[in-house]
């Protein structure tokens, strides 16, 4: 029989970025807050200490810090008629596992959305007409505006100690920043990172082409910094073991370095590692949650009563838990009814690899978010009517690492083994740079998440099933970017270069890493018929369950998600503190 724990005010599922932030905000209110994290406890010391992090095989290739498919995975198929098969070994995306979540081993590219991305459907209709939206495309507005979120983006950037250069301060365009960004009330808390050779080459070329290059906003500290919680970051040493690794230097912004050190001091906060939540428990009327059931580190089932449940389990796991707990109506792609699982989206990326025989890039000198970018082809910059697609992208010339097992770009036509391979490796290593396109991905009627009918996990729960494929609109977008990047690559004058972009016959491939930017499935909006969450990330159906993370995105942004995820978390926290706690109930009337 399941054991029942003493009641807490708030239980949080997972302990990554979102729960860490929520933990600070809700303990500020004097509430008792308990976080349940399925993975191990981990911190800079001893887990990420030098030298053991500098081990590409263990962390970069064998994914020591990530979710183990043996314990947690989903099934994947391309279309609603297909059989879904399990994502048996990791590839395309790498969800986190353990205290700090994916925020431990992310890169740290930290963006805000462009204002109109948050009201994409309205923006398209107003400017280009509703008829340019393809029938199968199910884009929506977020139900919250950029202006409302601005103070919360600012807060997240200050807590995370982001290094960058403002491009739009209160409406005034700033030299050297992104002129296409939304207004910001303040500059980034730290100046941009140092410039590597790829940065300066790309910057100078882009400027001479009349474009607007600027340094990538980085969650890697360019200088020593103390954040509003009193947490300290040390200057990044460009160690070249950033993405997929915990930071060995207290320099990467992570839940550990920026929040948890302060949160763990609070007497009204506690966390338990190796405790996996099975489901959210509902009261008999189904309208409120009574807490959660989890499996503790000994494998025993435990009931945790709580007044408020915060889901911060990462977008995919949030949706899985909603489906398993019976919160919200599951989405049906045939009728278009139901909401949970609807509008799963991903990221449409492509890129060029450029080879310069005589240049030394020293690729091993790199940081997760070390790069030069431009946003001239962003969502708000493109005439969708004229170009025939909805979406946009930012370009980046980034130098994150030179780890040789995974980072060995070879010229066109080089063999993959034998004496000539070895020769190509020697000639090429250290002499290449890349230009990437990081683009939006729209939502479609038949791209969604539900429970799989065939496969289960160790606890006998159905795995979640992902139905997803690339669509022509997004391929047209990336093909547009390909033309631009082809021209920019030529302008850099490399000895050789190759392009890699999705084409009209491309199907979703789970094998190569793409991004861990899985979004949607528990989307926010202004109507319970078309969204799972209201504008405060509160579930429409069960008022004491709030769902954090990129599962709330109705379609994907052109950017990496975490700047938006962080901002939304502070926004939701404010609503909980100021509106929900004094008067628990739905914050928006359906």
């Amino acid at each position: 029989m399941a054991k029942t724990n003493p009641h807490v005010d708030v239980v949080m599922i997972g302990l990554g970025w979102t729960s860490s932030i929520m933990g600070m905000e809700l303990t500020d209110e004097g509430l008792s807050v308990l976080a349940l994290e399925r993975g191990p406890d981990q911190d800079t010391v001893p887990d990420f200490a030098y030298p053991k992090m500098a081990d590409e095989l263990t962390y970069g290739v064998r994914y020591q810090l990530m979710q183990r498919p043996a314990k947690s995975t989903l099934t994947v198929r391309h279309g609603i008629q297909d059989l879904a098969v399990p994502y048996r070994s990791l590839g395309s995306f790498l969800p986190g596992n353990g205290v700090g979540g994916a925020g431990t081993h992310w890169n740290g590219h930290t963006w805000r959305p462009q204002p109109n991305e948050l009201r994409l459907k309205s923006y398209v209709e107003e400017n280009f007409g509703a008829d340019i939206i393809p029938d199968e495309m199910t884009i929506q507005d977020y139900g919250v505006t950029y202006d409302e979120l601005e103070p919360h983006f600012d807060r997240f950037e200050k807590v995370a100690g982001i290094s960058g250069k403002a491009g739009n301060l209160n409406g005034e365009i700033q030299e050297g920043g992104n002129p296409f960004e939304g207004w910001r009330s303040d500059d980034y808390p730290l100046p941009p990172m140092k410039r590597t050779l790829n940065d300066t080459l790309f910057r100078d070329m882009a400027a001479s082409e009349g474009l607007h290059p600027f340094p990538l906003p980085a969650a890697n500290a360019s200088q020593a910094y103390t954040n509003p919680y009193g947490m300290q970051l040390a200057p990044c040493n460009y160690c070249g073991f950033c993405e997929r690794y915990g930071c060995l230097n207290y320099s990467k912004s992570s839940p550990q370095t920026c929040v948890l050190g302060a949160l763990k001091q609070r007497k009204n906060f506690a966390y338990r590692a190796n405790c996996e939540v099975m489901k959210v428990n509902l009261a008999s009327d189904g309208k409120t949650a009574t807490g959660v059931t989890y499996i503790d580190e000994n494998g025993d089932e435990v009931i945790q009563p709580a007044d408020l449940v915060i889901m911060g389990a990462y977008s995919l796991h949030n949706v899985h838990l909603l489906l398993l707990s019976g919160i919200g109506k599951p989405y049906d792609p045939i009728s278009g009814e139901g909401v949970v699982g609807k509008n799963y989206a991903y990221q449409m990326n492509g890129g060029a690899t450029l080879y310069f025989k005589d240049k030394h890039f020293n690729p091993f000198i790199g940081a997760g978010a070390n790069g030069e970018t431009l946003n001239d082809f962003g969502v708000e910059q493109i005439d969708f009517g004229q170009e025939g697609f909805i979406g946009g992208s930012y370009f980046n010339a980034a130098m994150t690492n030179g780890q040789p097992i995974r980072n060995m770009p070879l010229p066109k036509g080089a063999p993959s083994w034998g004496a000539e391979w070895k020769q190509a490796v020697q000639e090429t290593y250290g002499h290449t740079m890349t230009i990437g396109s990081h683009g939006s991905n729209m939502a479609y009627r038949d791209c969604y998440l539900d429970l799989d009918p065939n496969y289960t996990d160790d606890h006998g729960r159905p795995l979640m099933r992902m139905t997803f494929n690339w669509k022509d609109n997004d391929v047209r977008m990336t093909q547009f970017m390909k033309q631009k990047i082809d021209a920019l690559s030529k302008a850099l004058g490399p000895d050789d270069y190759k392009l890699s972009f999705k084409d009209f016959d491309s199907q979703y491939d789970v094998r190569p890493y793409q991004t861990t930017h899985n979004v949607g499935g528990a989307i926010m909006g202004s109507d319970p018929k078309s969204s799972v969450l209201n504008r405060y990330l509160q579930t429409w159906d069960v008022h004491n369950v709030f769902v954090m993370g990129a599962s709330a995105f109705p379609q994907n942004l052109q950017y990496n998600p975490t700047g938006m995820v962080g901002g939304l978390t502070y926004w939701a926290a404010k609503a909980i503190r100021e509106q929900y706690l004094p008067n628990p109930g739905p914050l928006v009337q359906a």
């Binding site: 590409e56 064998r62 498919p69």
Partner: protein
């Protein structure tokens, strides 16, 4: 709403961290990582743990074709790549310990869906080597290791392209593991058994586990001057 909690899993002390690199073991109890104070093994003297003698001859010969010693730079044999692969067979990778390995299996779906075989990588090696040896005997009257280099290259190319097919294991999957693990053993830190004396890193100019470059970031377009260091403590 005010109950106070004691933090059940807060760390009360900081564990020692220097060179605490855990030896990954699965079942066998074999240590997969080298000890910092021991010199790397001599390939000729190495007794494989997983592979049989016959399999070992195959692995040695195949690695030698995949990354030969010819031309500049070390080959797979000088860098102990076969030792790395043998150790991997005993670890989580060989056992697919982290992978979802529950049925039903649909190995015939598009390769875009990733690994879909019920076999663990070490089983793929076992069956793949056996089938390749049988093929070599039937076609060429000799084991793989006894073929001349050109024929060995030809057989490996046939495996890679799927021009040879086997009944109970995918030839292309077998080749893919072999090539992947060979490159891993060549470029991974010597602590995992390959990349002897960091020879591959010296060859390409990768400084290994240095992980500290603040003073070098904006010295653009200059070759980095220092040799590599390893998790074993070795300096190059």
């Amino acid at each position: 709403m005010s109950a106070k909690l004691d933090n059940a899993s807060r760390r009360g002390f900081i564990k020692g961290s220097l060179m605490m690199i855990p030896a990954v073991t699965v079942g066998s109890g074999v240590s997969l990582t080298a000890k910092a104070d021991e010199p790397p093994a001599n390939l000729a003297d190495y007794q494989p743990t997983y592979f049989t003698d016959d399999e070992w001859r195959f692995v040695m010969a195949a690695c030698d074709r995949l990354i030969p010693s010819d031309g500049d730079g070390p080959g797979a044999l000088e860098t102990n790549v076969p030792i790395f692969i043998d150790k991997q067979m005993e670890g989580k990778f060989g056992h697919a310990a982290d992978w979802y390995m529950k049925p039903p299996f649909h190995p015939d779906v598009s390769p875009l869906f990733g690994y879909q075989s019920p076999l663990t990588p070490r089983e793929v090696y076992r069956k793949g080597i056996e089938a390749t040896q049988e093929y070599c005997q039937a076609q060429h009257g000799k084991s793989f290791a006894a073929l001349d280099h050109d024929l060995q290259t030809q057989v490996l190319t046939q495996l890679e392209k799927g021009d040879i097919t086997f009944d109970d294991v995918s030839a292309t999957q077998f080749f893919a593991f072999l090539l992947q693990n060979t490159k891993e053993g060549y470029f991974a830190d010597p602590i995992h058994g390959g990349n002897k004396h960091m020879a591959s890193w010296k060859f390409i100019g990768f400084p290994g586990a240095r992980a500290s470059y603040l003073a070098w970031v904006d010295q653009r377009d200059k070759a980095y001057p220092l040799g590599p260091v390893s998790l074993t403590g070795e300096r190059g």
